[in-house]
Symmetry: C2
């Protein structure tokens, strides 16, 4: 099969770029002296996870119990489910543990910690639990100085749970676009998570794991003193959002959407492609960043960037391609009906999620179909 034979829209992985991204991150984590636990929510794909583990990753991070179940069935034992635990999901998590999965859960509330302890008592089962720390105010977690931190730690420990440590995610790093700002966020993520661990240890409780990470902070940190492991996800493909953040080059972007020109509005300078929001997603992450790429950057079928051409708007199965600035009066001839174009996405996690499978393209031109673990 060649690209020309693929039914569009299709999600294309440039395998050599992906492998380069995996090597880059793993080498950096090795140099910083930390365990690397990639977040597989970006790819949700066993072939990609195999490549990450082959390069040196130890354990994985997941965003759904379904990812955990599929990865465990594939032979991955050490799995961190990095979303605050809902009590109604404890039975599924416990089942994975009974079958031998070293599943780790996350909480940031006394209510959830109590639910875990109560579940553990009822089922005579200890669970591995990390406490989520808030290091930038963007979402979840307990502040390192918050009295709740030691309360939750005690509820877990005294309730028979295995208090494994602390974890944080400085999601606000996605809003940075200078090396200085990134280093500042990275150092804050590190220092506050280490501080939380020290407070727990000072209270006489165990806290072996200190887990931090996001793709930007993982690539920006000067040192990771006190940190034992790093998590990052989107680095595996990178995307236009990460390009704007400044942690990759356009040539690193490994995920694109192959689409076909189906029509034009010549007077407007529009080419219509069969890649709408159903394929690209509605993600507009670059809207607030230094360069707004619309719904994606246009490339040739072979992946060569065509400067200034973007997907400017989308409907469900239609994308409108236009040139920034002066409309292209010659777009009908530049991109005739039937032309295949590749679109680099704003956010690889969101665009990947629109597909049930990838077409993985090797340098030799061979294409393999890799399935995704969608759903919950």
């Amino acid at each position: 099969m060649k690209l020309a034979d693929i039914q569009t829209p299709a999600a294309i992985i440039d395998v050599s770029r992906m492998n380069r991204n995996i090597e880059r991150m793993q080498r950096r984590m090795d140099a910083l002296g930390v365990r690397f636990r990639p977040h597989v929510k970006t790819s949700k794909c066993l072939a990609v996870i195999d490549a990450q583990r082959g390069a040196g990753a130890r354990g994985i991070t997941v965003s759904t119990l379904k990812e955990a179940e599929h990865c465990f069935a594939h032979g991955v034992l050490d799995i961190l489910y990095a979303v605050g635990m809902a009590p109604t999901k404890l039975a599924r998590a416990a089942d994975l543990r009974r079958r031998g999965c070293e599943l780790k859960l996350v909480t940031d509330t006394a209510a959830s910690a109590h639910a875990m302890a109560e579940f553990g008592r009822q089922h005579v089962q200890s669970l591995d639990v990390l406490i989520e720390i808030d290091t930038d105010g963007h979402r979840s977690g307990i502040g390192p100085d918050d009295p709740q931190l030691l309360k939750v730690a005690r509820v877990l420990h005294e309730g028979g749970m295995n208090l494994c440590g602390v974890m944080t995610h400085a999601g606000s790093s996605y809003g940075c676009h200078t090396p200085e700002a990134l280093r500042t966020v990275a150092e804050r993520e590190r220092a506050l998570c280490v501080l939380a661990a020290e407070r727990i240890r000072d209270s006489g409780l165990p806290c072996p794991t200190v887990s931090v990470g996001s793709t930007p902070t993982a690539l920006a940190a000067d040192h990771l003193d006190g940190v034992t492991e790093v998590r990052a996800g989107v680095y595996v493909f990178f995307d236009l959002c990460m390009l704007n953040v400044g942690v990759c080059a356009m040539e690193d972007l490994a995920l694109s959407v192959l689409s076909t020109v189906i029509g034009h509005q010549a007077e407007n300078g529009w080419a219509i492609i069969d890649g709408g929001w159903m394929a690209l997603s509605r993600d507009r992450s670059t809207q607030q960043q230094i360069v707004d790429f619309g719904y994606g950057q246009i490339c040739s079928r072979d992946g060569v960037v065509i400067p200034d051409y973007f997907v400017g708007s989308v409907n469900q199965e239609h994308g409108i391609v236009s040139r920034a600035g002066i409309p292209d009066a010659d777009i009908v001839h530049r991109f005739p009906v039937g032309t295949q174009l590749r679109v680099l996405p704003n956010h690889a996690c969101a665009t990947g999620a629109q597909f049930s499978e990838y077409q993985a393209l090797n340098d030799s031109g061979t294409i393999s179909t890799w399935s995704r673990i969608n759903g919950w």
Copy 2:
């Protein structure tokens, strides 16, 4: 199974609301004297399509050939694929026709029409084709006055294709919010599509079908003189976008996302739920409308709207629920960890697309799982 037992996030269909929406639209189309051909891109679900056909729909509209293939296998013969035809998809379309599917294709360019005619010559096969008309400048189609219209009609007719008629979609109706504005867009959609048909007929070519539609214009049109059929999709579930447009009430919204509270940031007045953009989609259709609902309106598990509580922001698997205006200092007790909440979405098509199946909830409380036809 009860709602309390469902693993969250989950897409819930309120079946009695859905059936009411289906009845309302069908009665209206019957009163206007037109054939109703629902667009199934919203639900992509055979159980929903069966309900639409049972109420009187004749034929369906699809947004992907995969929908066409599954619906044909399910016994639906009369199918309009309402996205401009890519030449590379002709073989799949022709295969459906050879197997007895009355598949109709769409084009708005001479290049695509030539590709169809050439394909037909090579495979000794005539295809049913409609010409897409641009009645509001929002996306695709040929203007009714454009000389291209008759050129494309002739390419099809002389190339041995069966020129079935014209079709248009006034997508700009989604930007309206007064009855007057909607009636104006609806009348323009009708009049310009009928004009295009008359120009084709005046040139001596056939044009039996005049197909128009969007949910807002279908519900706003005063009359549909000259129109033979109407297409509409999102009416089956409605959503917050349609509420803002003014064509439904909050009590008509039939699709919601069931989610669970997994934590809080008490000082911010936030409850964190396990419904992030992976479940709700990144669609922010209401951002530009008269009421901005964030990423969705919060309801109790039983579907009762909780005024002023919205999903204000999302990450992949996290949604942040907050109160508009003054933060809720008591949110930890209002929505304790483990509380199930339902979220009414901005755009039912986009939110449905994040799921592989629905949980269909009847008035009696019984729940059935209905699968979706995702992908291409």
